[in-house]
């Protein structure tokens, strides 16, 4: 129904604003109806303002800014309807070191209630690990798995 959608939108928007602050350390962001007069059919738009920059078209964001904004959007819906598990496959690939750190702050917060499965090639992302698994193909075409002690995490080249 209409009012249910609006309440959901509002809650998700609140999550989005908060998560955006954590990930971008400033700026502002908002999820809102494109056409407030037509609640039943209106699309939803996302407006972001990066710290120190002007409000702009999402297309002009950089690769890393798009990735981080996408994460904020997904997590804002995730927190509205939390699942016990969250799976991220190399979401850190476009991010620089500083933004990986910001993402790790958020994941550290969320991991008390959510189990994460995270695939990465970036040593910086390993810092958030509680367990680490290595996957390898000793025999070509056949995957095998081995456990890595978390204390080794800074030695591991990925």
């Amino acid at each position: 129904s209409r009012s249910r959608f609006l309440t959901t939108l509002e809650k998700i928007n609140e999550n989005f604003k908060r998560i955006y602050q954590t990930l971008f350390k400033g700026g502002s962001a908002e999820i809102k109806l494109l056409d407030e007069t037509d609640i039943l059919n209106s699309g939803v738009e996302i407006k972001v303002k990066l710290p120190g920059k002007k409000l702009q078209n999402l297309q002009l964001l950089s690769g890393g800014e798009k990735a981080l904004s996408s994460l904020a959007f997904i997590f804002s819906m995730f927190l509205y309807k939390p699942s016990p598990i969250c799976v991220l496959d190399e979401v850190d690939a476009p991010l620089d070191e500083a933004n990986i750190e910001n993402l790790m702050v958020l994941i550290n917060e969320m991991k008390t209630n959510t189990q994460f499965l995270i695939v990465t090639h970036n040593p910086k992302t390993l810092e958030v690990a509680d367990t680490i698994y290595g996957v390898t193909m000793i025999e070509p075409g056949v995957s095998s798995i081995y456990s890595i002690d978390v204390s080794e995490k800074d030695k591991k080249i990925v």
Binding site: R4, F5, T8, I12, I31, G43, V44, E45, L58, Q59, K66, A67, S69, S70, L71, F73, I74, M77, F78, Y80, K81, P82, S83, P84, I85, C86, V87, L88, D89, E90, V91, P94, I107, K111, Q115, F116, L117, I118, V119, T125, L126, V128, A129, D130, T131, I132, Y133, G134, V135, M137, E139, P140, G141, V142, S143, I145, I148, K153, K156, V158
Partner: protein, 158 residues
């Protein structure tokens, strides 16, 4: 609840049975390109009932069954078990598929249908994977999806 263990046998690059025990918190998976990291995540997604083969990066149903390498012949079937721990009580989901495409499901070792799997997942709080799973390479595209697509994402979360 959390995912305690995943058992993979005959699925993609896992010709022999492999068990992976996960912990609460952040489970990191690392390894070289092509070693099988995303295949582990595919096994999880397939195990919770994914029906679209393209979501598992396949073309035809049998693409998820081990297709052989220099030494090993293709296998006839793929199977995945997911063991969730729900406040101390174990929930076991099992899926097996043969080359002709039919899947066999089990919930706690009793024969079941896909609908029973979905119901168990619902009880665990696991819904549509678009809210908890970010596929490799997709992270930059989410924020720039269309206005109506964004609305549908929020509507379905409601």
């Amino acid at each position: 609840p959390y995912l305690k263990k995943i058992d993979i046998f005959g699925f993609k690059s896992f010709p022999s049975r492999i068990e992976i025990f996960f912990k609460k918190g952040a489970n990191l998976i690392i390894g070289p390109n092509g070693s099988g990291k995303s295949n582990v995540l595919d096994a999880l997604i397939w195990g919770i009932g994914e029906t679209k083969i393209s979501s598992l990066r396949g073309g035809k149903t049998e693409d998820i069954i081990f297709s052989g390498n220099r030494k090993k012949k293709p296998l006839a079937a793929a199977e995945v078990s997911l063991i969730f721990d729900n406040e101390g009580e174990e929930v076991r989901l099992f899926r097996k598929a043969y080359r002709d495409g039919e899947s066999v499901f089990r919930v706690n070792s009793k024969r079941a249908r896909l609908k029973d799997i979905v119901e168990e997942l619902y009880k665990l709080g696991i819904g549509d994977r678009k809210y908890f799973f970010i596929e490799q390479g997709m992270i930059g595209n989410i924020i720039t999806m269309g206005h109506l697509e964004k609305r549908i994402l929020i509507e379905e979360a409601a």
